[in-house]
Amino acid sequence: MAYAEDYSPNELLVATAARELRDGELGFVGVGTAGRAFTLAVGIPIAAARLAQMTHAPNFTIYWGNLLSPDLQRIPPKLTQHHITTWPAAAQLSNTGDKCDMLARRQFDVCFDSAPQIDRFGNLNITAIGEYRRPKARLIGCLAQTDHLAFVSRPIVLTDLRKRTFVERVDFITSVGYLDGKDSRIKAGLAPGGPWKVITDKAVFGFHAETKEMQLESLHPGVTLEDVLESMSFRPALPQHIGQTEPPTQEQVRLIRQEIDPNRILLVA
């Protein structure tokens, strides 16, 4: 298991995300959007899922589009409609409502989410920047992100670390993380949950067991604590010891490049 020396930032994220996926689990991956948002919300998660399948979690499966357990050995060459319609999968339930039911019944173990705003307590905003009724920037709405954060056991947030993204308090709570910290999520009526990890381009975060504040876990190779703190609008909790994010192994990099995404469909931006 020799670590790779030559790997891209995205490859590091794929390997880091893959490590959070466990054998036999079901993960939720979104669809759509373009550019960097696509890579964060779709490309890296699918690559991580397939990497997990090929290494430590052969029975890890995903929900994608409305497909349950699509065959990740046969990732379509392009994500236009017909390739989704005809992608071999174990099941495609009768409508999107069935997926929501699986979410509410807590049948998903992990999910991948991205957002233009996330705050100290892991609340996400993909709805509106500024005033909700007359926003500075109207965003995309909610999709099922609210549902993920309400019902999935271990949501994984994938977002680049930027001052305008990591804010003290989101302008609008699309998705409840740990709300106001401590037991406020539970008091609001939600089951235990909330973001499990926040994987960024500079560092990995978790959440403090008691206060539920976002807490730095590891710095990516070559990134300093100062880099990280300067890229955030709030100061995260800092543990006694800050580790380094484990780099991908040579084998992981080989699998990503040669088998999972040889045509760079997933890791595009």
Partner: protein, 294 residues
């Protein structure tokens, strides 16, 4: 069974300005774009749209100033990015929005489809959507467990418009076995007050009756059925044709700038006499053949 077959223009004439209308499909897939272009041509305005994920139809209505309010889980154009016309309208305070996550919006359509006025859900607990919308989201308690829930209001609209695959003259609409089921057309159809369906093709009733389990919209629910081949263009119809990426990119280029979108609408919506004329302007035979997946 009664004959429900109509022309597109007659079906669109059923919908007056100011209506609340549920639009089916998903973003740029199997959504009744031709019907919405016809509505716009007829000057219908001041619409209140309920969608699941809203997409190109909502953005078009926003772009021509015919949209008053939207309730949906998403507004955007999938891999083609943001819904620029819609976004501008909301930021200018001209379009009102009520946001719902998928579980909540489905609960609302399910309530309407089941003839009940509300449905319980936990998905909105603690959210901004609940905080900003006490008219449609109210706290209730489970009488068995004492748990906290929200009641969400049934998603009832004056009209529901869907685009489907094939149907007969009576309004029975069927899906193929190989399809993309990532939408709630069936629930929206069941929830409809007055249902209009456009389909790729009208087929004889005998073909429908051979496989009744494939009928997802039975004739009893339908007020008008209209044959509109390529009725979802420039979006896709799964099993029939893919999204027209070139046209979508051009649409987005125009939508970024109000003046350019005016030109787009002048050419492709107001500047055509009917759907056939639209197709003639918007695609070539070669392009259609490239998009086809049949």
């Amino acid at each position: 069974m009664q004959r429900k077959l109509m022309q597109l223009s007659d079906a669109a004439r059923l919908v007056p300005s100011g209506s609340c209308i549920t639009i089916g499909g998903s973003i740029i897939r199997r959504t009744p774009v031709a019907f919405v272009r016809e509505l716009i041509r007829q000057g219908v305005t001041d619409l209140h749209v309920l969608g699941f994920p809203a997409g190109i139809t909502t953005d078009m209505l926003a772009g021509v100033g015919a949209l008053r309010r939207v309730e949906a889980v998403y507004e955007g154009l999938f891999q083609f990015g943001m819904a620029h016309n819609f976004r501008r309208g909301v930021e200018a305070g001209e379009i009102e929005v009520r946001d719902f996550p998928e579980t909540a919006m489905i609960a609302r359509f399910r309530a309407a489809s089941q003839g009940i006025s509300f449905m319980p859900t936990k998905v909105l607990l603690g959210t901004g959507m609940a905080k900003h919308n006490p008219e449609q989201i109210r706290e209730i308690t489970c009488p068995f467990t004492g748990e906290k829930y929200h009641a969400v209001q049934a998603a009832t609209s004056d009209f529901t418009v869907l685009h489907g695959y094939v149907g007969d003259e009576f309004g029975n609409v069927q899906w193929p076995v190989q399809r993309d089921s990532d939408d709630i057309d069936f629930i929206q159809a069941k929830a409809a007050q007055r249902l209009i369906v456009t389909v790729e093709r009208i087929v004889p009733h005998a073909e429908i009756a051979r496989q009744p389990t494939l009928t997802y919209v039975p004739h009893q629910w339908v007020e008008a059925i209209v044959e509109v081949p390529y009725g979802a263009h420039p979006g896709s119809c799964d099993g029939y044709y893919d999204e027209d990426e070139e046209h979508m990119q051009y649409y987005q280029e125009c939508a970024k700038d109000p003046a350019r979108f005016k030109e787009y609408a002048a050419t492709y919506i107001y500047g055509v006499t009917d759907h056939w004329d639209y197709l003639q302007k918007a695609v070539t035979v070669k392009r259609l053949s490239q998009l086809s997946v049949r």
